[in-house]
Symmetry: C2
Subunit: 199 residues, 2 copies
DNA sequence: TAGACTTTATGTACTGAGTTCAACAATGCC
DNA sequence: GGCATTGTTGAACTCAGTACATAAAGTCTA
């Protein structure tokens, strides 16, 4: 997942996730997702088809490089969260804070490519699969953190999933909001609020 | 999506979604999902490979027949929901009630096959894709209903997604709970409660 | 400097999902 | 019987993803 540094020994890499990602995005813009084959991407990046699969497990994975960095930040924020008292409420607020911290750097200019392509995600099975896989990873992350802090499994799951739901909803609104969208964080905050007052 | 009745005219169908689904489940149990090809399923059902794709858009779709029936019930419940006052709260409760009504028939014996296969869904891209697609359909359904009832788009999205998150979390707990699990409904109710008290 | 070792790249061949399209089969209707 | 309609079938194809053996390009060590 993370970019592994070249150790010095062995044949130096001819490509990188970033290089392949750039080549892919160029081609997606030029020919669309379906009009772009893995062969095209590899050729554009100057490597062979197989090399692409050395860097990504699947064609659709290329969309998520930027967002996976955010997942890493979530992980870090959770690790740094001492989450004091093992009560449901404190832990619930814990994951919420961790999430807000992780997405805090996301400014108007940093809209991940994937967020500008919701129509694609909705219509292309490979992207649906990779999106689902991302959500599942996040869910596991948050859910386990809650359980470690004493929240009952069922409640942990519900709270984790619900938080992710809010982030997704917020991210969609944010991406759609155009160049003046500003930071993502307030969008997430109001999504959370919208679900809480719904009593 | 819905089973289209044979109109009387034309060549009568040699198969049906149900028949293919049964053949598929048998083979999944015998040889696993990956060990079962579309060819196998079609052969077991006594038709050709192409005929399978006349009934399902993809191999993974076969998992969701039972759950798609629930989606139809959600749709019906929403249609029958006069959802009186166009206020956020009333509409929010509206989709919640519609969802609870739609899943009310689900008893201990009716655990959809797909719910017993979460490990599969997590590891097989085709199933991730079809799951994602189901969630997206549900989300659109609920979200549009809220917007029609005067809820702001952003809030509608957040509430709809969050409700789906609760149902998914609840369904997982329910499926894992074993033969004495009882009805799904209370699981959903407590998932919703768990997210609301998380303030 | 000649290997030995390590890491990455490449080529080939394969499986299987999903698509396209034309031909064919079975039914009701006139 | 002819005809429209609906459904099935076969063949050929594209492309993602996998497996595996081999080659290339470096570093390290004797």
């Amino acid at each position: 997942m993370t970019t592994t540094r070249h150790s010095g020994r062995g044949r130096p890499p001819a490509a990188s996730r970033e290089l392949l990602q750039e080549a892919a995005f160029e081609l997606f813009v030029e020919n669309g997702y379906l009009g772009t084959t893995v062969d095209h991407i590899a050729t554009r990046a100057g490597v062979s088809r197989n090399t692409f699969f050395n860097y990504f497990d699947a064609k659709g994975e290329v969309f998520w490089v930027e967002l996976d960095a955010t997942t890493e930040r979530v992980k870090a924020a959770l690790a740094g969260d001492s989450s004091v008292a093992p009560t449901t409420n404190a832990a619930g607020i814990g994951i919420r804070q961790a999430m807000l911290t992780a997405i805090a750097p996301l400014q108007s200019e940093h809209v991940p490519f994937v967020l500008t392509q919701y129509d694609l995600i909705g219509s292309i099975t490979e992207l649906q699969a990779s999106a689902m896989s991302r959500f599942a990873t996040q869910a596991r992350l948050l859910s386990e953190h809650l359980r470690r802090n004493g929240v009952a499994p069922a409640a942990a799951r519900a709270q984790a999933y619900s938080l992710i739901a809010c982030v997704i909803a917020a991210a969609q609104e944010w991406a759609q909001a155009g160049p003046l969208r500003g930071r993502l964080e307030p969008y997430v905050q109001s999504a959370i609020d919208a679900t809480l007052i719904a009593e």
